[in-house]
């Protein structure tokens, strides 16, 4: 997750390192940050469109996923399993398990955004990594709402447009591996977890364990299943327990019992869900 766009720069202008800010410098911060993040992440829809068509999906199928599922990791997971000839059930299960974290973002967003009534049905569709990260990084509820709307809108439009472009282009190009798109897909995930791995020792441990579980399971389990099994790593690694040394920044040591993985730490602007 490109959370580093919007955090860790107390006293400086957020997004200072992102080139798209130059033309939008006069906009309010949540709009400026939101456009930057939404557009940048949205462009990786190209990689999804390419991956989907390479996996054997049609262009309309790729576009329907981006329009209606609209949660990148789940979409990649589904087409990844289809590409490997894996069971469709395993692909869907992987996609839904990855999509389950949006439920947890939703719990947070309900508290933060206070949108009720029919509007909630539309807002729900926009609850993903990036909108949650953007909203939770804002200092006030009003800015959180502005950020949410900005990221949702810009990301939705860009993601769907670039999915179409990537899918159509791939249909004509054929071998996308020649363009390194297979490596780009893994790079998308790497970028999404990078900020968390940088800051949090326990999550580094979880990541390494999860990767090991998945790789060990690849020869024995049908495609898609190794990733599901790796979810166990989240339960195996203790939180703030023996693995949490004094240097552990999880905040568990000496903190409130409920502080492990609890509310976003405002000091770091981290999204924890």
């Amino acid at each position: 997750m490109p959370r580093n766009f919007v955090q860790d720069r107390a006293g400086t202008t957020p997004l200072a390192s992102v080139d798209v800010t130059t033309s939008t410098a006069s906009l309010p911060p949540p709009v400026r940050d939101g456009l930057g993040m939404g557009t940048a992440v949205g462009l990786s829809g190209t990689a999804f469109g390419a991956a989907a068509v390479t996996a054997g999906l049609s262009v309309p199928q790729a576009c329907v996923l981006s329009l209606l599922a609209f949660t990148g990791a789940s979409q990649f997971a589904l087409v990844g399993v289809v590409a490997g000839g894996g069971g469709l059930a395993a692909g869907a299960a992987g996609a839904l398990l990855l999509g389950a974290r949006n439920t947890l973002y939703g719990l947070r967003m309900a508290d933060l955004l206070h949108w009720r009534g029919p509007r909630r049905l539309l807002v729900a569709h926009g609850i993903i990594d990036e909108t949650a990260a953007g909203a939770l990084a804002q200092p006030t509820a009003a800015w959180a709402r502005t950020s949410f709307v900005t990221v949702f809108t810009s990301l939705y439009l860009t993601w769907n447009l670039t999915t179409l472009v990537g899918a159509l282009a791939t249909e004509r190009i054929g071998d996308t591996d020649a363009f390194g798109l297979d490596a780009m897909s893994a790079a998308v995930f790497l970028a999404l977890v990078a900020a968390r791995l940088r800051d949090n020792r326990r999550e580094r441990l979880v990541a390494v364990l999860a990767a090991a579980i998945a790789l060990a399971a690849v020869p024995f389990a049908p495609p898609g299943v190794p990733v599901l099994l790796a979810a166990a790593a989240a339960l195996i690694v203790p939180s703030g327990g023996p693995a949490g040394s004094p240097g552990d920044d999880e905040g568990g040591d000496g903190g409130a019992p409920g502080s492990d993985g609890g509310d976003a730490d405002p000091g770091r602007g981290e999204v924890r869900a």
């Binding site: 990844g80 897909s185 990767a211």
Partner: protein, 104 residues
């Protein structure tokens, strides 16, 4: 046809998962085990996806593709240098494509 059904099902499921969070009773998240699992599971799933995508062909065989591994390594280096998101993706694709051009 089956693929279409799976796609529609996945879309519906993904939407309902999002809506469930907005509508769920708050005390659900207060259960420590649910909470611990929920907070960390994205990292576990994403790390597993990275490993599987890098070191397998999507099937049941582990493979070492120097170009792909090189591309992912380039992305990791770009992230360590705190490069913007698009630069990270470009570094991965360009490195993998370049290595393949060299015949790796």
């Amino acid at each position: 046809m089956t693929l279409w059904l799976v796609i529609i099902g996945t879309c519906a499921g993904c939407y309902l998962l999002k809506l469930a969070g907005l509508s769920a009773p708050r005390r659900l998240l207060d259960h420590p085990l649910v909470r611990r699992f929920a907070m960390t599971v994205p990292v576990a799933l994403l790390a597993a996806l990275i490993a599987v995508q890098t070191a397998s062909d999507g099937g049941q065989e582990l493979v070492f593709d120097p170009a792909r591994v090189g591309g992912v390594a380039a992305a990791a280096i770009a992230l360590l240098l705190r490069a913007p998101f698009l630069v990270v993706l470009a570094a991965a694709a360009a490195t993998a494509a370049g290595l393949r051009l060299l015949g790796l």
